[in-house]
Symmetry: C2
Subunit: 227 residues, 2 copies
């Protein structure tokens, strides 16, 4: 009797005994990854409703049934993706502290975000799609984690302002400005390429963009570009 197996529930169902030779998840892990990557493309391009399991399967080079063996349904596949993406996101973003130099901290923040746009454009678009659609899956995350995240950073910036180390500007709006302007290079890639008449991005385009943003935004906050 081949009951519907464990499927997607245990994301990394750790080795029960020890960690020696037997790894039940080898194939699992590899295929999961393949599927998630395919899903990232499909969902980023068509949104949740527009994406089809069939298409994801084709992108991954697997039969549909096999995809459904790993992720028992579309919804779970979708949220599994965001688990991955948010984890990656959290790993990269460093804290800022009141004693940091505002110019250095902001410029690092901007450059990191541009780098994220360059390295993970699909994740960025996916996130954008989810938000535009009303964030049905991420509402909770926005309401809790992200709100706290913004408040934390905003407080530090306010500290800088109170200490006279930065021109007074609304810190929350500043965060929005940095978010939007940096993500734009990933989300609106096609538009930018068309307008600039290029076939594809090069590394230097991102460097140029990052330089521009650091310069303008820092000056906009009354700061000097750090060396």
């Amino acid at each position: 009797m081949t009951k519907q197996p464990v499927a997607d529930a245990p994301t990394h169902h750790g080795n029960p005994g020890n960690g020696r030779k037997y790894r039940p998840g080898r194939i699992r892990e590899r295929n999961r990854e393949k599927i998630l990557q395919a899903a990232e493309q499909e969902f980023a391009q068509h949104g949740y409703k527009g994406a089809t399991i069939q298409n994801i399967a084709e992108r991954a080079g697997l039969p549909k049934s096999n995809v459904l063996y790993y992720f028992s349904n579309k919804k779970r596949m979708y949220s599994a993706m965001f688990d991955d993406i948010l984890a990656r996101w959290n790993k990269v973003f460093t804290d800022i502290r009141p004693e940091d130099d505002p110019a250095v901290a902001l410029s690092t923040f901007i450059r990191t975000k541009v780098e994220m746009s360059r390295r993970y454009p699909l994740a960025s678009r996916l996130f954008a799609m989810e938000i535009i659609q009303g964030a049905p899956f991420l509402l909770d995350h926005l309401r809790t984690n992200m709100r706290e995240w913004v408040r934390g950073r905003a407080e530090v910036m306010q500290q800088w302002i109170d200490d006279g180390r930065m021109t007074p500007v609304d810190p929350v709006q500043l965060i929005f400005l940095i978010w939007s302007s940096t993500q734009h290079y990933a989300d609106f890639q096609v538009q930018i390429l068309m307008v600039e008449n290029k076939a594809e991005y090069e590394k230097r385009d991102f460097d140029h963009a990052a330089d521009f943003l650091v310069e303008v935004i820092l000056r906009g906050c009354g700061l000097e570009k750090p060396t």
Copy 2:
């Protein structure tokens, strides 16, 4: 014999003869509008593939067949929407000229775009969706009209820079910065509301945002906020 009628081809098929009493398109015009508005919601929320005619019909309070009477198929409905939106867009945006004051021109540009985000958030999201999806319908528009539009403005800005009326910054990047930061308030509405812990936008939120953007971006370009 009731052949499939004219359907969507003649957008405003003008009154042949005179313009006195008989207007064959009255109902047509009204329903077209209802449907396009419903379509705007649906497409903005779910993207092209994810939107369904059934849903659009329900939003418009009409039977599906009736919707298809006005727009013979999904594709045409989608592009009819963009015709409307781009027309509206073109109507609003004023030219800038080399003899204009940079500070005034830029601040007008920013405020106009924020106002657009406030008044037509659905159009903004729709546009964002289309671009993220790879702009299958707007590629041509981007390649021609929009590219020219950007080049024209960028040239004027470059003129300002050459005349020493503005700090040297890449004008094209500056346009991207203004686009992204202003649209963000429409496209990422949910995120902003969640982070700021608000139920919905108020007029003053947009005023505040516009003030912030004008201040920071102008200062970032070495300009004084105009009175």
